[in-house]
């Protein structure tokens, strides 16, 4: 019952958030210089042509009127038509969403594995030189942003030792039998491991570039939190029961140390999704972020709006999932 109320409340606040995002984006992209009509027409078009096209797209009306028309459409599931491609925005955006989701989730999984491993190993080896080495590596990973990691990875594994693909989502010559746009997922379900390998080989470097800074954050926060937990009485008590250090860390300390990390990972994951915009561009990966940059360059107003709204939905969704996971992992909240 309480959970139900919390979810309803959450949905209401989400609606307000989305409205705010919509208004801001809508106004900003119309106020900044740059005009989609000018981008569309060939050089030498007359003022008359400009006026006619402007009226066709409704851009001659006031911003407020335009917003009402657009918002009315959105409520009926119509996000408008892309100016550059002349296709419905919703279809375009949803077509690209799976690519970005797969990339982000893969990056998150890699970051959790690396960061978690670093934190656990660092705790196990605390007080030794290995711990210091892990801390140094962590600091280095943390102080370099994801797009620089992208460049480094392209240089290392795309140019100097070309073992991975550095461009696109899949080798273009490959015939794809897929019915959804979740290539990675569907290739696994269909047991097409040849395709899966090709897709992973494309995704690994961009995912790694996104994952490294997040892995460092996870490693650092989880290790700190483990360190505090290791001093608690129940950890000591577990030692007197005859358990090994590794067992004590993973079974007693980890479940409690993970909670503060989880909140942080939620916030950082939304930053990671933001990072996909640049990383996708860098690796010519056909996801939402890459599409967003094209849309901004072309001043494709409806498409920008659609993408931004979708990003906002993803962000709030991630936060909701984190809160639910927190409640599931913390018995004090589950029964409270």
């Amino acid at each position: 019952m309480q959970l139900f109320r919390a979810v309803i409340l959450r949905l209401l606040t989400t609606a307000v958030t989305l409205l705010g995002v919509a208004v801001i984006v809508f106004v900003v992209i119309r106020v900044v210089p740059g005009n989609p009509i000018a981008m569309m027409l060939p050089p030498g078009a007359t003022d008359e042509d400009v006026a006619r096209l402007t009226a066709l797209y409704g851009l001659d009306k006031s911003i407020f009127r335009q917003f009402l028309i657009w918002a009315g459409g959105v409520l009926q599931g119509d996000f408008g038509t892309s100016i550059t491609t002349r296709q419905p925005v919703l279809g375009l955006v949803l077509g690209r969403l799976p690519a970005t989701l797969e990339l982000s989730v893969m990056a998150l999984v890699i970051a959790t594995l690396i960061g978690g491993f670093a934190a656990l190993t660092g705790t196990r080896l605390r007080g030794t030189r290995s711990e210091a080495a892990i801390d140094v590596a962590n600091g280095m990973a943390l102080s370099v942003p994801d797009f620089l990691w992208g460049l480094v990875l392209i240089l290392l594994f795309g140019v100097l030792w070309p073992v991975f693909h550095i461009s696109g989502r899949v080798t273009p010559s490959i015939e794809l039998p897929f019915t959804t746009d979740f290539y990675l997922f569907e290739s696994l379900v269909r047991l097409r491991f040849d395709l899966w390998r090709d897709i992973v080989s494309h995704m690994l470097l961009p995912a790694l570039a996104l994952a490294i800074p997040l892995a460092a954050i996870i490693g650092q926060v989880l290790k700190q939190s483990l360190k505090e937990t290791m001093h608690l009485d129940y950890v000591t008590l577990s030692r007197t029961k005859g358990y090994s250090e590794t067992h004590v860390i993973t079974r007693e300390a980890l479940p409690n140390a993970i909670l503060p990390t989880l909140t942080l990972v939620g916030v950082q994951f939304t930053f990671l999704i933001g990072g996909t915009v640049i990383i996708e561009r860098m690796f010519s990966y056909e996801g939402l972020g890459n599409m967003a940059i094209d849309a901004v360059i072309n001043r494709d107003l409806p498409l920008i709006q659609g993408i931004v709204i979708l990003f906002a939905v993803i962000f709030t969704g991630v936060n909701l999932v984190v809160d639910l996971a927190y409640a599931a992992l913390n018995p004090r909240l589950r029964h409270g």
Partner: protein
Amino acid sequence: MRNLSARVRGAPGRLLRDVSLSVAAGEVRGLVGESGAGKSMIGKAVLGILPRAVEVLSGEILLDGTDLLRLAPDDRRRRIGASCALIPQDPLTALNPSRRIGPQITDRLVDILGWSRTKAQSRARDLLAEVQITDPDRVLRQYPHELSGGMRQRVLIASAFAAEPKLIVADEPTTALDVTVQKEVLRLIAGMQARHGTALLFVTHDLGVVSKVCQSLTVLYGGLVVEDTAVRDFFPAPAHPYARALLAATPKYTDPGSSLVPVPRQVLDGIQAQVDAADRGWRHG
């Protein structure tokens, strides 16, 4: 425990100065001293949970004739887990908040002693009933935050006796509890100890508690044993001047104002001389 000495790594002085004490099966030995006298350190040394910064310099800890300090670390922790247990000081922090009570009592039986899950489960149920918890089955399924402090301390006592250990170290088990619960918990520990015939090392700073539950007593000052005697002999006439002063400083409920007697200066000087003498021997040897 024979001639155990320990110090903080790299520090000049010793935390424990040739401490020797023994607890026989079925015996309750009180271990008293001021804060920092090293009484908790002794309990930790026995259980193999000394802080990393503390190193044992010399001496041995004998359990049934085996020197624990000579065992390989893995053997030592398994040996301790199987035959020793701790009743911790603060019941509020000594249970893992994210695990149910049941597994926290049975984990050692299953993982270290190799019992079957069902056998361990029924053992836990019996123990909870023995520490007078009314609905053991429900408590086994509960999380620590659903229990009161007194209940949690009962759970911890039950857990300490779970593996029928030879030795239990009780580290000021009543200090963190409400005065009204203290007596009950003391009676419970004493009763359990008598029924199970366990050797119990009772670390405390409360001589009143010692007089109630212990048969023998070790008084510690500055990591040095200053008195080792039967409780029967101690309370009428402590041998060491420091022990006498300590006894005189115990508050009496009947006359609270007059009872706060500080330990006299010359007693402290005398005891410091004793500590210095012990250290001289150590440096030469």
